[in-house]
Amino acid sequence: MAQTHAVEPTRRDFLYVATGSFAAVGAAFAVWPLIDQMNPDASVLALASIEVDISSIPEGQESTFKWRGKPVFIRHRTDAEIAAAEADDAAALPDPESDSARLRPGPSGELEKKWLVVIGVCTHLGCVPLSYRGEYDGYFCPCHGSVYDTSGRIRKGPAPTNLEVPPYEFVSDSRILIG
C-alpha cells in the first residue's frame, strides 16, 4: 500500500508540477522585455524615410545619401551603362534578376532606366563598395573583393546577393522618396 503511494502521482505532485510550470512561464514573460529593449526603439523607427533631390546629379555620376544610417547610392546611368546591364540579363548571375526588375517607374508610369537606386552596403559583410570600380565598372567592395555590375548585381566574390534596392518612389521628375 505504502509502495503504490510512492509510485503513483499524487495531488501534491500535480501541484508541484503546475506551480513549477507557472513559474517558468512567468519567468519567460519577465525576460522578454529585457530582450526586446535591444531592438530598434521608437526614435530610431521614426527616422525611417527621406526625400531627396536628384536633379543635381549629372549623367554618368552618382551621389550618396544617408538613409537609416546606411549609404544609398543614386546613380544617373549613361546609355552605355544601361545597355551593359540589360545585355547581362542573359549572363550567368549568382543571384538572377533582370535589370528592369531593379528599377522603378517615374511619375509618367514609364520605367526610369536612367536612375539606379541601391543601398550602398555590400551584401557580404556590410562594407561600402567603391563606385565605378571593378571588372563591370559598377561597384567593387574593398573588404573581401565582391564585384557588382552597373545594375548593382553581384557578379564575383563572396557576397551572396545583389545590392539591395530600398523601397522608393518618384514623387516628381526630380525628387525621390526613400523609405
Binding site: 535591444m38 546606411k70 574593398p142
Partner: protein, 422 residues
C-alpha cells in the same frame, strides 16, 4: 591535487576567524603550501602573467570609464580628451590598449603551452574547456573595447563582425538588427557595447576562479606530463618556489609591456583608427586587431558567406573537443617524436594564417603569368591544415606513433635517470 589542509592559525584572531570564514585557510592552501611539480619551467609562469593582465585591464578600464563618453557624437573626442587633457590619461589609455595585446600574447603562449605538454588530456578536460571559454570571452571583450574609440576601424570592424551573424539562416537578419538596436551600427550599438565591455571582464574573472578551482582539484600538469607520485619527492611548495619564479617571469613580461607603452604605443594598432568613424566610407583595407587575424583569414578563405562564418567559429569550437580527439595516452610532446614535429608545423600554420588575415586577399605571393598563387590560396591551404591537424592528425598520431619511454617519476626526470636521493 586536492591535498590535506596544512593551515594552522597562528594567533587568537585567526583561530576565531578560521571557525567562521576560513579565507586565510583557503589562501594558504591555494597559494602558499600548495604543492607544485618541481619540474615546472617558465612556460608555466603565464598563468600569473594572465592574472596580472586581467587586473591591469580592469583597473585602467574603470579609470578610463570615468572620462569616456559612449555616444557617436562624443566618443572619439572623449578619447582625444583622455589623451590630451586628463592627467596621465595618455598613460592609462596606452596601458589599456596595449594591455589588450599583451593579454593576448600571454594567452596564446599559455594555450600553445597546453597543446605542447598535453595539458588538455584527462583528467584536465574541464580545466581546458574553462580556458577556451575565457579565451572566447576575451575575444568578445576586446572586440567591444575596440569599438569604443569610434574610429574608422572601430566602426567597420563592428559592422563586419555583427554582419557575420546576418549569415545565419532564417533568424540572421533579425538577430543582427537586435544586436545593433538600429538599422546599422549606430548610437544604440555603441552604448550597449560599452555596457557589455564593462561587464565581460568580470565574467572572465568569474570563470578564472572556476579555472583555478579545477586546476587545484587535478593539480598542475608539468613538462614531463606524468602525474605526481610522491608529493614529498615530486613537488615543492607554491610559496616561495612558484611565487618567485612567477614574479621573475612577470618582471620580464613587464619589460616587453613597457617597451610598447612607452616607446611604441601605436605599433600594434591601426592608424585608420585615429580617423573618426564615417558610416559612408569604408577604409581601403580593413583588418581586425592582430590577435584576431588568423580567424579573419579563415573567414575569407571560404568563397561562401555562411560557410566562412561556420568555419571561423568552428576553428574556435574545435578547441572545446580537443581532449576527445587526441588518442594518445602520453601527454608531453617531449616523448612524442611525431606529435612534436606536427606541433611546430601547426604553430607555423597559425602564424601563416595571421599573416594572410592582414594582407589584401588578392595579393600575389608567387607570380605565374597573369595571376599566380595569392593570399587567398595560401589561406585555403592553411585553413585545411588547421582543421586537419585536429581532426585527422590528433586521432591518427596516437595510433601510429611510438612514444619514447616515460621517466619513472617527476623527481627522476629532474635528476636524470639515477634514482632520486631523498
Amino acid at each position: 591535487m586536492s591535498h590535506q589542509s596544512t593551515y594552522t592559525p597562528g594567533n587568537a584572531f585567526s583561530r576565531w576567524m578560521d571557525e567562521r570564514l576560513p579565507v586565510m585557510r583557503l589562501v594558504n592552501d591555494s597559494f602558499v603550501d600548495y604543492p607544485v611539480p618541481k619540474n615546472l619551467n617558465y612556460w608555466w609562469t603565464f598563468g600569473a602573467v594572465l592574472s596580472f593582465c586581467l587586473a591591469v585591464q580592469i583597473v585602467t578600464g574603470i579609470v578610463l570609464a570615468m572620462h569616456y563618453v559612449p555616444t557617436t557624437e562624443l566618443a572619439f573626442a572623449s578619447v582625444e580628451h583622455i589623451m590630451r587633457d586628463v592627467n596621465y590619461g595618455w598613460l592609462i589609455r596606452y596601458v589599456h590598449s596595449n594591455g589588450a595585446s599583451m593579454f593576448f600574447i600571454a594567452v596564446y603562449i599559455h594555450m600553445f603551452r597546453g597543446l605542447y605538454y598535453g595539458s588538455y588530456k584527462a583528467p584536465r578536460e574541464v580545466l581546458w574547456i574553462l580556458g577556451v571559454l575565457i579565451y572566447l570571452l576575451m575575444m568578445a571583450t576586446a572586440f567591444f573595447g575596440y569599438v569604443l574609440p569610434w574610429g574608422q576601424m572601430s566602426f567597420w570592424g563592428a559592422t563586419v563582425i555583427t554582419n557575420l551573424f546576418g549569415a545565419i539562416p532564417l533568424v540572421g537578419e533579425a538577430l543582427r538588427t537586435w544586436l545593433w538596436g538600429d538599422f546599422a551600427v549606430g548610437d544604440p550599438t555603441l552604448n550597449r557595447f560599452f555596457s557589455l565591455h564593462y561587464l565581460f571582464p568580470f565574467l572572465i574573472a568569474g570563470v578564472v576562479v572556476l579555472h583555478i578551482w579545477a586546476l587545484h582539484v587535478t593539480g598542475q600538469n608539468n613538462p614531463a606530463g606524468i602525474e605526481v607520485k610522491d608529493p614529498k619527492k615530486d613537488t615543492v611548495a607554491f610559496t616561495p618556489y612558484a611565487t618567485m619564479k612567477d614574479a621573475f617571469g612577470l618582471a620580464i613580461f613587464m619589460i616587453l609591456f613597457s617597451y610598447f607603452v612607452f616607446f611604441n604605443p601605436n605599433a600594434l594598432g591601426e592608424p585608420d583608427n585615429y580617423i573618426v568613424a564615417d558610416p559612408l566610407v569604408t577604409p581601403a583595407h580593413i583588418v581586425p586587431e592582430w590577435y584576431l587575424l588568423p580567424f579573419y583569414a579563415i573567414l575569407r578563405a571560404v568563397p561562401d558567406k555562411l560557410g566562412g562564418v561556420v568555419l571561423m567559429f568552428g576553428a574556435i569550437a574545435i578547441l572545446f573537443v580537443l581532449p576527445w580527439l587526441d588518442t594518445s595516452k602520453v601527454r608531453s610532446a617531449r616523448f612524442r617524436p611525431l606529435f612534436k614535429q606536427f606541433f611546430w608545423i601547426f604553430v607555423v600554420a597559425c602564424i601563416g594564417l595571421g599573416y594572410c588575415g592582414g594582407q589584401s586577399p588578392d595579393k600575389i605571393l608567387i607570380a605565374v603569368g597573369d595571376g599566380g598563387f595569392d593570399v587567398t590560396d595560401l589561406s585555403r591551404i592553411l585553413t585545411i591544415y588547421y582543421f586537419a591537424h585536429f581532426l585527422i592528425l590528433f586521432p591518427l598520431l596516437g595510433l601510429i606513433e611510438k612514444p619514447k619511454p616515460l621517466p619513472e617519476s617527476i623527481a627522476a626526470s629532474v635528476l636524470g635517470s639515477e634514482p632520486a636521493k631523498s
